[in-house]
């Protein structure tokens, strides 16, 4: 597993794709941070992280599209599958490598928030209201980062699964984006309109409840406020494991086909 992890990490950086990912991610994060906090003179990081989450729909497929599709196309998977390494180890190695890339970029992007703290500290010194908190709320940030890491893990697992289904990186990427968009849009459908003026798109509460249950984003809300919700944690972790398991099954099945 370690060998595959190391190889994947290396291949991210000997291929342009790793640099593209980090570059796009950091640029997007910086731009989003700029617009949502500094430009709109707000200490609230909630919308920054929310938009970051949405941008992951486009960014995560960059990481996952090649994981299995390329190996399959180049026939290098034959080497992995005939080596004394189990399929689970292989999939986990790749997952962890992608997750490291993603997590690493996310942590680096936290630099974006440093100006907020600096401005906050300055403003704190200027005002006399020592009893109010001025500046970004650290708990919210920690919660959001945790939430994004969990959602990212799930997205990576989904992207990997889709990549294992196809030989073409491009179709893996497009399909992953489509699936992720669908999962997010589901949640937006619920939010459109309001009950008071009767403009709800989906009127049935049951349907909304079910959609909510499937929606990846809806559970993220708690993290936004710095609340660690065990059910959400479990939800994301199980989503990740389900798709890792499905990827393993794809390989098992292909052997028997």
């Amino acid at each position: 597993m370690l060998a595959i992890y190391k190889k994947e990490m290396r291949s991210y950086f000997i291929n342009p794709v790793g640099y593209v990912f980090v570059g796009v991610f950091l640029t997007l994060a910086a731009a989003l941070c700029c617009y949502t906090t500094l430009q709109s003179s707000s200490y609230s990081t909630a919308s920054y992280f929310y938009f970051l989450l949405l941008s992951m729909i486009v960014v995560i497929p960059l990481l996952t599209m090649r994981t299995f599709a390329e190996e399959r196309k180049m026939r290098t998977e034959q080497m992995l599958l005939t080596a004394p390494v189990s399929i689970i180890q292989m999939v986990l190695g790749k997952f962890l490598a992608a997750f490291t890339m993603f997590g690493g970029s996310l942590l680096i992007s936290l630099i974006n928030l440093v100006p907020l703290y600096i401005i906050g500290a300055e403003e704190d010194n200027l005002t006399d209201f020592s009893f109010t908190h001025i500046g970004p709320v650290t708990a919210e940030i920690v919660g959001s980062v945790m939430g994004i890491l969990l959602v990212g893990g799930a997205f990576i697992a989904i992207g990997m699964f889709i990549s294992s289904l196809t030989e073409s990186q491009l179709s893996a990427a497009v399909l992953t984006i489509a699936v992720l968009v669908f999962m997010v849009v589901l949640n937006l459908l619920n939010k459109i309109g309001s009950d008071s003026d009767g403009t709800r798109v989906i009127n049935s509460y049951v349907v909304r409840y079910v959609i909510d249950w499937f929606s990846v984003i809806s559970r993220y809300t708690a993290f936004q406020y710095g609340i660690l919700q065990w059910s959400a944690l479990l939800y994301y972790l199980s989503l990740t494991f389900i798709f890792i398991y499905l990827t393993v099954r794809v390989y098992e099945r292909r052997r028997w086909a």
Partner: protein, 408 residues
């Protein structure tokens, strides 16, 4: 070392491997021979655990590949049909990855250096794989299979796409490996197995049609019925002389002309060694023979005969299971028959060693030859014959690349 019993693999309704069984001992070099789509690669993929069989068992070193895949895979080094290379890595990085992947416990730098030396890629270790030539890529693929020094090495068409020199090098390498490792090699190039392998397994349409020692198959191949002759002399006279000679059933002039010599093709009766007789007859007429080439039945001929003969006739008919079985049985019988005959021949020769250096006088009794002609060296016709051929055949074929092993 490798034990395969009743292996079956179906791709949907298509049967790629149909009830194959064989054992391979430690230190054997076995050639898997078959036309494209015969099931060679599928069988190899099953042995290496890349694919699973529909039914049947494969054990490698006593370990069932399904029960304990990791231990079994540890014993195998595999070069698939298309070498599994990462184009963006350097050779060094790639072999390092293979080393880590196989979880080896040697001195890494030393082990990899040894392997690079063996397959002669030391000079490209720092280069990106995508920039290497096909031959080097193939060798890197072989190096990858050797990492971890596995006791079983499996090569799927290792010499495909290489130039003749590289082919010879790789064959030599495989022969070297065969001293310490069990090697399975698949190919549809016949000289290759003949040159390298101890044993040949011929597969067609998922079935084993022949499983014999290379020596025996080579004997079957060593046929002394058809020859190309180059004789200086008047074309018509030579031809009529040849045609009228007893023991020759067929003679014709081939187009090739070399000075005043023409090339003739003759075919003798079964079990008659016509060479010496032709020699003396021509000597008598003072038509010097300047070329004498045995058009031995090549291993190709056997192969094609085995694979095609029965296949064609069955193809027209309705393909029932029964017909298939009969065809397979017939194929096997044919191949076995050929090989058996050859083996018997070998035994017969071994039992009568005295016969090889035949008494000189014998030919004088049969054919009257005037004293002055070529009496001084009557053994010429004898030297290139008989038992020595079979032994030298494969080695020569390897060195000469595409040269026919049967011909001298």
């Amino acid at each position: 070392m490798i034990k395969i019993s009743h292996l079956v693999k179906n791709y949907g309704s298509m049967c790629a491997v149909d009830d194959i069984s064989f054992d391979i001992e430690r230190g054997e070099v076995v050639g898997f021979l078959g036309p494209n789509g015969a099931g060679k690669s599928t069988t190899m993929n099953i042995i290496t655990g890349y694919l699973s069989s529909t039914s049947g068992t494969v054990t490698v070193g006593g370990v069932d590949i399904l029960d304990d895949p990791l231990s079994a895979k540890r014993l195998i080094g595999y070069l698939p049909e298309q070498p599994p290379l990462y184009p963006d890595m350097t050779v060094e990085e790639y072999l390092g990855f293979a080393y880590d992947l196989k979880n080896c416990k040697f001195n890494k730098a030393k082990h990899l250096k040894e392997i690079c030396d063996v397959v002669k890629i030391s000079d490209v270790r720092q280069r990106l794989i995508k920039n290497l030539s096909k031959g080097y890529k193939q060798r890197v693929g072989i190096a990858q299979a050797l990492v971890g020094n596995p006791p079983v090495i499996i090569f799927d068409e290792p010499t495909i796409g290489l130039d003749p020199k590289q082919i010879i090098e790789i064959r030599n390498l495989i022969r070297t490996l065969g001293r310490e490792h069990t090697v399975i090699l698949s190919t549809h190039i016949l000289q290759e197995v003949q040159a390298v392998c101890d044993r040949i397994i011929i597969i067609n349409k998922g079935k084993i049609v022949a499983d014999e020692l290379t020596e025996n198959i080579s004997k079957a191949v060593e046929n002394t019925r058809r020859f190309n002759l180059k004789i200086c002399g008047p074309q018509r006279d030579v031809l009529s002389t040849l045609k009228n000679m007893s023991g020759i059933v067929y003679a014709e002039v081939l187009a090739a002309r070399d000075g005043d010599a023409y090339t003739y093709m003759i075919e003798s009766e079964v079990n008659v060694d016509i060479r010496k007789k032709v020699f003396w007859t021509m000597a008598e007429n003072k038509w010097p023979i300047i070329g004498f080439e045995a058009l031995g039945m090549s291993i190709e001929d056997i192969f094609i005969a085995v694979v095609d003969k029965t296949g064609d006739s069955a193809a027209g008919k309705k393909k029932t299971r029964y017909a298939e079985q009969r065809r397979a049985a017939a194929e096997k019988e044919m191949a076995a028959g050929m090989v058996e005959k050859a083996a018997e021949e070998v035994r017969r020769r071994a039992e009568e060693p005295d016969e090889a250096p035949e008494p000189e006088g014998r030919y004088y009794e049969d054919y009257t030859v005037t004293e002055d002609t070529f009496a001084a060296k009557p053994e010429d016709g004898d030297a290139s014959g008989d038992a020595a051929d079979g032994r030298d055949g494969p080695a020569e074929a390897a060195d000469a690349g595409a040269k026919n092993a049967g011909g001298n």
